[in-house]
Amino acid sequence: MNEIFELQYALDTFYFLMCGALVMWMAAGFAMLEAGLVRSKNTTEILTKNIALFAVACTMYMICGYAIMYGGDIFLSSITGDGATGAEEPATYAPSADFYFQVVFVATAMSIVSGSVAERMKLWAFLAFAVVMSGFIYPMEGSWTWGGNAVFGMYTLGDLGFSDFAGSGIVHLAGASAALAGVLLLGARKGKYGTNGSINAIPGANLPMATLGTFILWLGWFGFNGGSVLATASVESANAVAVVFMNTNAAASGGLIGALIVARIMFGKADLTMALNGALAGLVAITAEPSTPTALQATLFGAMGGVLVVFSIITLDKLKIDDPVGAISVHGVVGLLGLLLVPLTNDGSSFSGQLIGAATIFVWVFGASLVVWGVLKATMGIRVSEEEEFSGVDISECGMEAYPEFVSSKS
């Protein structure tokens, strides 16, 4: 019996770690997607932001984020080596594997922000925000949801019927809320909205890169949702994992098809960038509950996300909320949709619980982010100068172009 348990422990831990590695890979997906959808003069800076925010998020979550969210001590000093005997409740995986799996989710939430504020935000202001977001803002709302704590001692979301399997709200809506607060204080990119009310397109520089990024995210999402089953080494959990993989894939497909068809009808041509956003919207829509829908339901939920995201992007543009990559629509608007779809297939949740949970996450993350962005704006400034924006933040922030031409070195 003991040998079987050891085997289960080893397999669950291994599965958890590999899923975490897949989610880590999503950071690469976000980096490629965002680098593809900005102009080439802002490529180096967005790449720097993406890889630096990952490191900042991992470090801050190690210092205090994990402790705020799940208890334990700062610097992970109380993480024991053995989850089977060391923890209060015996787990089938190592505690440090749990940290590793959780930390990559923080980085995902932070990656969502970087795309929305692209092409005009100061690099160091963004990284300063990343410190607070991953060390405090995200862990606080995480503690009220997955952590099971009461919201400032007032109410407990779990008791109200709130359910968010892998984080449509906890990760995606949270990231989008922080992004929205940043964009509102930051303003639109110069030239995006004309003085006569026109909405101008600023086409992305590299659509192969954006497409590769979407494929990477799609792949990484199997870890994001699949790993959230938290185990695989029993018939029950293995079945659950397989269903989650199947539904995650189905929703992404439905989302892409939905967005592609809507874009074709509305714009007359197949807008690839909308199709990419559609696939991601499908993934976000199913993330709140990938284990209970049927494959057909998952496809339809994804398609709803894909259709909604196109209208959301157009609406935000009309409101002059400039989001170069569509992150607020994909992760925020569709994240909310994902939460509201849960009660359709999961009896353990309720619409009121989902609404209260979504409102709690949004109000907290948006409000706290607004304060942090506001303080940064008042002190170091969050926006580059007009001239720097025109010549591209690659040179002004990083001192190097992504694709240098006509560079001569003095020997």
């Binding site: 909405i199 397109a201 086409p203 909308m274 992007i313």
Partner: protein, 112 residues
């Protein structure tokens, strides 16, 4: 000597090069350019927002040649680059004062 500058549709470049080769032109310079003429630009949509393509891609072919060949060259380019539709391009002819072959120092028509 004359300099012929032809602005043509990019997909006609191979045919123009072939036609010029057939009448004995020994060298051309080609540049990818953008511009507008009577064809003007057109609008496209990116993520639902309109953008205007004011300048369309064209290919500029520059040929330096002796005066005696100009007529044939113009005919060859016109024939090869024509589709009969708007946007076929233009041919400009200008006086060329001199030409020098860098390797040998030859000047005038011998240098071409």
């Amino acid at each position: 000597m004359k300099m012929i500058t032809a602005v043509i549709k990019p997909f006609k470049l191979d045919e123009v090069r072939e036609a010029l080769g057939e009448i004995g032109v020994s060298g051309v310079t080609v540049t990818e350019v953008k511009g507008f003429g009577r064809q003007k630009g057109h609008t496209e949509l990116y993520r639902g927002a309109e953008y205007v393509v004011d300048f369309l891609p064209k290919v500029k072919v520059e040929v330096a040649l002796a005066e005696s060949m100009v007529e044939n060259a113009v005919e060859a380019i016109t024939k090869a680059a024509s589709t009969g539709k708007i946007g076929d391009g233009k041919i400009f002819i200008s006086q060329l004062d001199d030409a020098i072959r860098i390797r040998t120092g030859e000047t005038g028509p011998e240098a071409i």
